[in-house]
Amino acid sequence: MVALLAAADRVEFSFARDHVEVSDSVLSKQMSALEQAGYIKVRKGFVGKRPRTWLSLTGEGRRVFARHLAALREIAAANGVGLEHA
């Protein structure tokens, strides 16, 4: 989920749900936890009568994710596991 948001400026909730292939409730729980940690921003609005919820990573979220990726690359590289896509 965070990997998806890291590549985006913002993503609609339904797109994230369909892309990551989880249910609404699972995604909501994940987003609440990440929002409380300060890693994502959740913006709710309406377009006409249709609700739209937009998700985006905060600056802190991007920094933490970047550090997480760097750590994963170190672990993967330490044992010579291929890094073609890293």
Partner: protein, 148 residues
């Protein structure tokens, strides 16, 4: 409780998953294509109307230009409203494409005037030809959008 580090294989799998998510989002950038096509179509439609030689003044042509422009902008905003994911790459590409089109458009207009291609005794078709040349960057950008 000690933290457990992922194995190298788990780390590799996590990195692959992150790359897969980013790639999937880039494919969704194809949703930007209609915006660029709508901009190009609006520009061409207005150019066609202006090519019908309205130098003598023609209310029909002027109303047509206004309606086409307003409709084109509305359609563009509609396509933008429908987008469910704004990837960083896609958004940057949209901005660069529009800026590139604007600069190229200015260059084409400059060349059209400087060479006399547009002139008081030139056929209105010259304006349309310039517009077709001017819109090429938008069409190329639309074709490239969302392709990996």
């Amino acid at each position: 409780m000690a933290e457990i580090s992922p194995t190298p294989q788990d780390a590799r799998a996590s990195l692959d998953e992150a790359a897969k998510q980013a790639a999937g989002l880039r494919r969704a950038d194809s949703a930007f294509r209609p915006i660029l096509v709508a901009l190009a179509a609006t520009y061409l439609a207005v150019a066609v109307l202006l090519s019908i030689n309205p130098r003598g003044g023609n209310v029909l042509i002027s109303d047509g230009v206004l309606i086409t422009y307003v409709a084109g902008v509305a359609i563009t905003f509609y396509f933008a409203w429908r987008i469910r994911a704004w990837s960083r790459v896609g958004t940057a590409w949209l901005v660069v494409s529009t800026l590139g089109f604007t600069l190229w458009n200015v260059a084409v207009i400059w060349a059209s005037i400087a060479t006399g291609w547009w002139g008081p005794h030139q056929p209105g078709l010259h304006f349309g030809v310039s517009a077709v040349v001017a819109v090429i960057p938008l069409l190329v950008a639309a074709w490239r959008t969302g392709r990996s």
